[in-house]
Symmetry: C2
Subunit: 323 residues, 2 copies
């Protein structure tokens, strides 16, 4: 039985060992660069932890774990073009460092390479693993499309928003966990429970991201407080405040969308309204609701509490972060 | 045994039956639009014809055939962004009709959908079919990168060019044929012969495309004669002329790259040089060399001449086109 830290080392070693061809340089250099930016590598960890938990072999899961991380990095490459994001993990994004065409084609190549990694597992698991992987990829694309649609759309409901973050973020965490379970040969019912656990954890994580942007311990977070407010990004906090603002909702909408008010003043004013409407408490409650649902999903799995301890302790740790 | 026309009908019926979700509209409308543009659907035909030739079931091959065509259309969507091509099959390209972001994301989704189609075949063939599909996708991306590189590069050799068109065009035709063979359960040696046949046919087709742009029967071709010359595109004819031009090569290079000379005058002058250097004859000889190699590959396959007649007649017909 490997600890979470041992699994993380295993993943880092696997990534360190990957070598891409040297030519054509404008195709493979951006891929090497992207993987060199690192990141938490949460998704491959979920693949391995889930596989181990269900009694599977890490050797059978390591390549699909790499495949899912490659896919995640591919989506970031393309998202950065669409969002015109100049930075990724504190460094220039591929689209900015090279150009859009390079980011498009390097991304396409990463997706194809990712699919090849998904095949390197137990023969009996291949079909289900690759099907889940590509179905999830479709859903992630749907989530990105809704995200772009909602930026321009006036009347986004909280239900719309939750469905968008389910697609854009939660399904890939859920698919990572289910992939590990499939490879371990877990039963269909357990596979669905671990998937649902991933969905609920994913929703909780994303809403916590929204919360910490405004109410996080900024010194540790390393980000400017209220970045989402300054950008006018439609987050759960904003949509909940809009819903609760009653007759003030139109003036609040105008304030939030404004790019003429100085940043610090805008953050202060929006935060005052959030505080008045007890948005922090609402949001923490919702995060906890999803977390409790996730624990409920875990408890339905036909394994002992001890067998699931590594995964549940690890996700509990992620839930507790305040930065 | 189905005729080529019957296989074409089968493919058209399969495409007609495909329905995509209605939302998000900006994700799925461009996919429906792209498939509605039609096209020759050569690649799925090669999958089915090869599968049938090796004694396989069309039902096992139809979904991977669709997958390969979806992949091909995805590459066109992304290529049109990179090449800033406003038209595709006589209609607005997706990137022009919507925008680049829509074309990027719809393309990504098509690639994921394509991978799902590749899985719908005989269980024993899945792993090999999906591996070949994604390896081919990587090579097609490499080909597109070389194509973009060579546009800016001064000293492109004929060897470079042949390798570029092998990757960009020939490998997908070869993979289509090999996919049909794998699904039919053909042996590894026969799979390699049919793949090599596809490579040589693909190279012959692409060079014929280059040739017909200058020496085609333009009335039937429906294109302006010399489009490649006007655009200054590095084709086999250009590279061969450059190699043969000796001391005149620098002035020829300047003429070919010029965008200031009126189009018709440029085409006339370049064609004069081509004629002087007997480029048409050289090119027709090379096309025939590749075609003969392809026939040689076919003759190595452990099937009767009769069994291979449908495929060899069909490709012979494609080779004969003069428009």
């Amino acid at each position: 039985m490997n600890s979470i830290q041992e699994l993380q080392l295993r993943i880092d070693d696997a990534f360190s060992a990957i070598r891409f061809p040297s030519a054509p340089a404008d195709l493979y250099d951006p891929i090497t660069y992207t993987l060199g930016l690192g990141g938490k590598r949460l998704r491959p960890l979920l693949v391995l932890a889930s596989c181990q938990m269900f009694g599977g072999e890490i050797d059978d899961a390591i390549n699909p774990a790499i495949g899912i991380e490659l896919f995640h990095n591919f989506t970031l490459l393309h998202d950065d073009i669409m969002d015109e994001a100049p930075l990724r993990r504190g460094k220039e994004s591929v689209y900015k460092k090279w150009n859009s065409n390079v980011a498009i084609l390097a991304g396409d190549t990463m997706f194809a390479i990712a699919n090849k990694y998904m095949l390197r597992t137990r023969p009996q698991a291949i079909s289900q693993v690759v099907e889940l992987f590509n179905q999830t990829a479709i859903e992630v694309c749907e989530g990105q499309q809704y995200d772009m649609d909602y930026e321009k759309q006036h009347n986004v409901s909280i239900t719309d928003y939750m469905e968008m973050i389910r697609l854009k973020t939660a399904v890939l965490l859920a698919a990572s966990l289910k992939t590990g379970a499939i490879i371990a040969g877990a039963g269909a019912v357990d596979c669905n429970h671990i998937y649902d656990f991933g969905i609920n954890i994913g929703l909780a994580f994303q809403i916590k991201d929204d919360l910490l942007d405004v109410y996080g311990d900024q010194e540790k977070f390393g980000k400017v407080s209220g970045g989402d407010i300054i950008a006018g990004k439609k987050t759960y906090l904003y949509l909940k405040a809009l819903e609760s603002a009653g007759s003030q909702s139109e003036s609040f909408r105008a304030l939030y969308a404004s790019h003429t008010i100085p940043s610090q003043e805008k953050v202060m004013k929006v935060k005052e309204i959030f505080n008045h409407l007890t948005i922090e408490q609402h949001t923490r409650q919702l995060i906890d609701d999803y977390y409790q649902k996730a624990l409920q999903n875990l408890s339905c799995i036909s394994l002992s509490v001890e067998a699931m301890e590594a995964l549940s302790d690890y996700t509990a740790g992620l839930m507790e972060r305040e930065n």
